[in-house]
């Protein structure tokens, strides 16, 4: 089984972001970057499928500046076999531009499965996977939390509002991975050493013409400071009164 996993380098969200001088990007000074959680689960899914089949190859793709090679190495150290870095000055916000470049690279790869995380928390659009599927005319199942591949057909579970869908699909296919599918492994020391020697091909990304443009970024207004109305069960009557009279939600 040949599996491709598209991964993204994303900022650690546990910081107070600042807007850069250009007004349309985030100041990256002091911001740590990491492999997107959802993408890590996609890498794990690919590795498990390969291990179960006892054969196959897992290729990691990532688009962006040279710094994304660090993210790629993380996936290689988890156990992916090879990687492709699609060079771009920055990771575009626009899903169409990214999906065009990824589809151009994936088109003739002969992959049985192409995996994505369902979303990245930075651009927060979640469109790349399904768009790549459309560009390659492949079946696509999004936000899966369970996966079974048997005899060239797949069954997946999707969490939807208040319910679950059991979805069957034919291969080759594009899947996007939600939380709950697995727990991503930590790279072993052996894996980290081995990753240094694994093939990493770097080439310019063939970005599509962007269709959307960030005009400006703003920091949201802070929520008004809350108030502690009391301690313990004794504060409950006052809370109920406020919910009825002030917030009017009861």
């Amino acid at each position: 089984m040949k599996i491709a996993v598209c991964v993204k380098r994303v900022p650690d969200m546990d910081v107070r972001f600042k807007i850069a001088a250009d007004g349309v990007s985030v100041d990256e000074t002091g911001v740590k970057f990491e492999l997107n959680d959802f993408d890590a689960w996609a890498v794990e899914a690919a590795l498990q499928l390969k291990e179960k089949a006892g054969q196959g190859e897992v290729t990691v793709l990532s688009l962006g500046p040279n710094a994304v090679q660090e993210t790629i190495r993380k996936a290689l150290s988890m156990g992916a076999d090879r990687a492709v870095h699609l060079q771009a000055d920055r990771i575009p916000f626009d899903g169409f531009a990214i999906a065009s470049a990824l589809a151009a690279e994936l088109k003739d790869g002969g992959y049985d499965l192409i995996l994505f995380g369902r979303l990245s928390p930075d651009s927060s659009n979640g469109v790349t996977g399904p768009m790549v599927a459309e560009f390659l005319d492949m079946p696509c199942v999004t936000a899966i939390s369970r996966l079974d591949i048997t005899d060239g057909r797949g069954t997946a579970k999707r969490e939807i509002e208040g319910a679950q869908e059991i979805v069957e699909f034919s291969l080759p296919a594009v899947l996007t991975v939600d939380e709950g599918l697995n727990t991503a492994r930590y790279p072993s020391l052996k894996g980290i050493m081995a990753a240094k020697k694994k093939p990493l091909e770097s080439k310019p990304a063939q970005l599509g013409e962007p269709k959307v443009r960030i005009e400006k970024l703003d920091l949201p207004p802070d929520r008004a400071a809350g108030r502690i109305i009391g301690d313990g069960a004794a504060a409950v009557p006052e809370l109920v009164r406020l919910l009825q009279t002030e917030a009017k939600v009861l």
Binding site: M13, D14, F17, D94, G95, F96, P121, D122, S124, N125, G126, V127, T128, G129, P130, M131, A133, E134, P139, C140, V141, A143, T155, R158, E159, I160, E161, G162, A163, E165, I166, E168, F169, S170, A173, E179, G180, P210, K211, V212, R213, I214, K216, L217, D218, L219, R223, G226, I228, D231, G232, A233, A235, V236, P237, L239, V240, L243, V249, L250
Partner: protein, 328 residues
């Protein structure tokens, strides 16, 4: 004059609340330029009966496609239908909901049409020929103002940001055939496993009661369920720590890697307020926090906080809410 297409989401033959939100937003957008709203409704035979509700909320035309292959969500056939209608109708924009279905469908349609797309938007405006949306990024810590070039623009709206508004129109029904054979899709939803009957969904519930590690054990989640039950219109949510420990299904997780919710009231029970959790709920209108740690970050975003043991405060609150609702 710009016409807008609103995708009207349904499940099991019923419109979802987000369908009315999307039509409401489309109405406002169309009114800005004197255009029409066309709602696209795809479902099993009989779904046409729901056209009236869409017209009530501002649809000038309801485009209805009935087929046995639309009984459950059919990603390939619905995206083909939507793309074909958007293209042939020459719409300025097509609006979807940022639901599980919308997140699946809208990017497929954008891909088919090679159109610009922004998802999870909190506002959409048309000024002259420029379509502008607001889109939260970096777990809501940054808000982007984004323009979408070209026609059509594909937009999905964050649930609960456009409250449904009645705006009755004559609502002409136009029936259309599916594109291709919906029964020949390569992706087939075999089964829809619904939760307990009548259970409210996190995206649609006006009240959410969510629990965290402060509950100490899986069994104690009953406190959260009881409080939700007392409100009568509440759904139950959880933090990532809780879903990772298997106390609740992953689908209930609110936060960076889970659900983004904006209810009228959010009650955080034994939740300290990690940044990843706050990302999923801080746009709630009113936030109540109950936690024994006075320094917990949740109190920074909570409108009303009670410092105390959840095992002491929550049963008292449940009883008080039951009592308060009795007279209603």
């Amino acid at each position: 004059m710009a016409n807008i297409l609103a995708f009207a989401e349904s499940r099991n033959g019923e419109l979802r609340k987000v369908a009315l939100e999307v039509v409401t937003a489309a109405r406002r957008l169309a009114d800005a330029t004197g255009g029409e709203v066309h709602a696209l409704l795809a479902g099993a035979p009989g779904i046409v009966a729901k056209s009236e509700q869409l017209a009530q909320h501002g649809a000038d035309v309801v485009i209805v496609c009935e087929h046995d292959g639309f009984t459950k969500y059919n990603p390939e056939a619905v995206s083909a239908l939507a793309a074909e209608r958007i293209k042939s109708g020459g719409y300025r924009a097509a609006l979807f909901a940022t639901s599980a279905l919308g997140r699946d469908l809208a990017p497929r349609v954008a891909g088919k049409l090679a159109a610009g797309i922004v998802t999870d938007v909190t506002s959409v405006e048309l000024t002259g020929d420029t379509l502008t949306v607001k889109h939260p990024m970096n777990i809501g810590k940054v808000i982007a103002t984004v323009t979408i070039a070209g026609t059509p623009a594909i937009v999905s709206l964050r649930p609960n940001t456009y409250a449904p508004v009645l705006n009755p129109k004559a609502g002409r029904v136009e029936r259309v055939a599916p594109v291709g054979d919906p029964l020949a899709s390569r992706v087939v939803v075999k089964e829809l496993v619904t939760g307990s009957a009548g259970k409210l969904d996190l995206a649609e519930a006006p009240v959410i009661v969510a629990g965290g590690r402060g509950l100490k054990a899986k069994e104690n989640f009953k406190l959260v369920e009881d409080l939700a039950d007392a409100f009568g219109n509440a759904a139950v949510g959880a933090t990532r720590a809780v879903t990772d420990d298997g106390w609740r299904p992953h689908a209930d997780q609110i936060g960076q890697t889970g659900r983004l919710v904006s209810p009228e009231l959010y009650v955080a029970v034994g939740i300290s307020g990690a940044v990843q959790h706050l990302a999923g709920m801080k746009t709630s209108r009113t936030i109540v926090a109950i936690n024994k740690d006075r320094e917990a970050p949740i109190f920074k975003v909570a409108d009303y906080g009670i410092v105390g043991d959840v095992f002491d405060v929550v049963p008292a609150l449940t009883a008080a809410v039951r009592e308060a609702r009795k007279g209603q």
